[in-house]
Amino acid sequence: MRRTGPGISLAAVVCFGQAAAAAEIGDAERGEALFEQCSGCHQVGPDAVNRIGPVLNNVFGRPAASVEGFRYSTAFERAGAKGLEWHIDTLSAFLENPKAIVPRSRMSFRGIADPQERADLIAYLRTFSASPRDIPEADPTAPPTDHDVDPEILAIPGDAEYGAYLSSECTTCHQAEGGDEGIPSIVYWPEEDFVVAMHAYKSKAREHPVMNMIAGRLNDEEIAALAAYFAAPED
């Protein structure tokens, strides 16, 4: 499973799948224009050299912090050592909020909120990575669908009223209003993303001791109920 990364940082960003799923396949031309905001630090293309930030050629499939000759922050080196690799999903999540994925890195960039802009930028970067290029549906350009949750589980209709009761266990930590200070927001998620995330915690594919414990005892119907509730929580 390639979507493994630095345990804590990735666990902190629970909306991984959501971020990537929202992005359509990007437009490299629009991405080129967007890259201007990166070019103060990063270079791409045949003559690119490391500057304030590392060269971004061949970034797809590359472990984080692996460009030779570039002095990475400790935070990035740790992320790389723990298995963070650059693919469409990790890049999208990172570009959305760099500090959430690699806290205390030296990269000072506040992030790109718009999923389409991220997709465009990633499509542009994709043109500087090795083949299979120009095959839009091939990994790594396609949005990920590589979770292993059974479609039958995803199809279970959620009992939102039961979910409302079960949600009270979540709101001891995750704020019902959606604040994300230290603990991520879990409200207004698409149901499928919620179900996928909870099953990832249940199976411990995604590691976090509290979430592994909480999700571990929820059955498929209860996860569906929670997803139904949190997709449109009442006031």
Binding site: E161, C173, H174, I183, P209, R217
Partner: protein
């Protein structure tokens, strides 16, 4: 005083004989006593989920409630006192809860009324007691509640926390801070040891030659390996603990002389934090639902063994395996709220699910946690699964754990107070 109260209760019972008829015509009434993690949460969930179909009254003496959780972080300088203080305005204005700032001094379970200090009686259909803890009289010879200014417990947050913090900051150079730790079971199992960490954090900066002595009647304590590793790492040599094998269970204090007698050896101390043995808050005993120090409850809905219409939440309850923590009380409150609402309005009642996590701070950005899930069995609330932070974790993980605890504080207080 007690006699007067009983006499009064007797007459009150007669006076409210007509009450059930009134009740039958009006909305069902829930009275919640105690506005902490159990009571505030229960009141809010019942009011929120019943959409006005249930009349909810919350009785809490203080207008501003200081959470016990994170009060150690105040002592350590990581939070200011205002940041752990909460008021009940939102519960009243947004949830329609009738918040009464008074002491409940009596419960008449036959008449189904609660008496307040002011003499008012509140009728109830369901009564939820979440009174927290009181101290067992005579638990530490030489200490009683009148000695709490000389030797603070700081185990109910607010002015006691301020006092203890001020005393730590005023310690003479190289002085001695002593803690008399409580026997099991007590509120917040890691609490005394997180407090030691926070006091050490303050002293390391302002008074590094000072010493900390823990006098402990217990062989072992919550997160012991994590705390001991942290104390060695951050505060090497400052903290000493005397367990029961060395007389830690045989302790008395003299608040006038500021001395602690440990198995016959008298120590002069500069600060003495006495955390005595605990029992359920007094109203649980007055309601007649306690057995010994605590109130036994049914695991399925937190109703008491003594009375199906009286529920006890949080620290005051004897429920089984859950630790006495704010998280536990909050978890129990939601199960209870669902059951109470179902009983009064016929709404759906779902099976009980309980969970707890306790975060502790050892030093700046060095957070640890322990947690477990629980289920209702016929006998008790029984532990299902759990986890604990490991020794030797890297600094980033510990920092993330601390940040998570800050997020949890924001989450649970929003869940309690709206």
């Amino acid at each position: 005083m007690t006699l007067d109260r009983r006499t009064f209760l007797g007459t009150a019972a007669v006076a409210t004989l007509a009450a059930p008829m009134v009740r039958a015509q009006g909305k069902p009434k829930v009275v919640v006593i105690g506005g902490g993690a159990g009571g505030a949460t229960a009141a809010r969930y019942i009011a929120k989920d019943s959409d006005g179909a249930i009349d909810v009254t919350l009785v809490e003496p203080t207008r501003k409630y200081y959470t016990c959780f994170f009060s150690n972080l105040y002592i350590g300088g990581f939070r200011d006192l205002a940041s752990i203080g909460h008021t009940y305005g939102t519960l009243a204005s947004d949830y329609g809860i009738n918040v009464v700032h008074d002491w409940a001094v009596g419960v008449d379970r036959d008449a189904m009324t609660v008496t307040l200090t002011g003499g008012d009686t509140l009728p109830y259909d369901k009564l939820i007691l979440s009174p927290g803890i009181d101290f067992v009289d005579g638990a530490v010879p030489g200490w009683d509640i009148t000695a709490q200014n000389a030797m603070p417990h700081a185990y109910k947050a607010g002015s006691q926390s301020e006092l203890l913090k001020a005393q730590v900051e005023a310690m003479p150079e190289g002085g001695l801070y002593a803690m008399v730790a409580p026997p099991n079971p007590y509120r917040c199992p890691p609490g005394p040891y997180e407090r030691i960490s926070m006091v050490a954090h303050v002293l390391k900066q302002t008074n590094p030659s000072a010493k900390i002595l823990i006098v402990d009647p217990k062989q072992s304590f919550s997160k012991q390996a994590l705390f001991e590793e942290g104390w060695q790492k951050h505060y090497g040599g400052m903290v000493e603990r005397i367990g029961p094998d060395f007389g830690g269970a045989n302790v008395s204090v003299n608040p006038d002389e500021m001395t602690v007698d440990i198995d016959g050896a008298v120590e002069k101390v500069d600060v003495c934090n006495v955390i005595p043995a605990m029992k359920a808050g007094r109203i649980a005993e007055l309601a007649g639902v306690t057995d010994g120090n605590w109130a036994p409850v049914n695991a399925s809905d937190m109703s008491t063994k003594a009375d199906p219409d009286v529920y006890v939440l949080g620290d005051a309850s004897a429920q089984g395996d859950m630790p006495k923590s704010g998280f536990s009380a909050n978890s129990q409150a939601k199960v209870c709220a669902n059951a109470v609402r179902g009983a009064l309005t016929g709404s759906r009642v779902f099976p009980a699910k309980y969970a707890n996590t306790c975060w502790s701070l050892i030093d700046e950005n060095d957070g640890v946690k322990v947690g477990a899930t629980y289920e209702a069995t016929p006998d008790k609330i029984a532990k299902v699964d759990g986890f604990i932070s490991q020794t030797g974790e890297d600094a980033d993980l510990r920092k993330a754990t601390y940040e998570e605890s800050v997020g949890w504080y924001a989450g649970i207080t929003a869940d309690m107070f709206g």
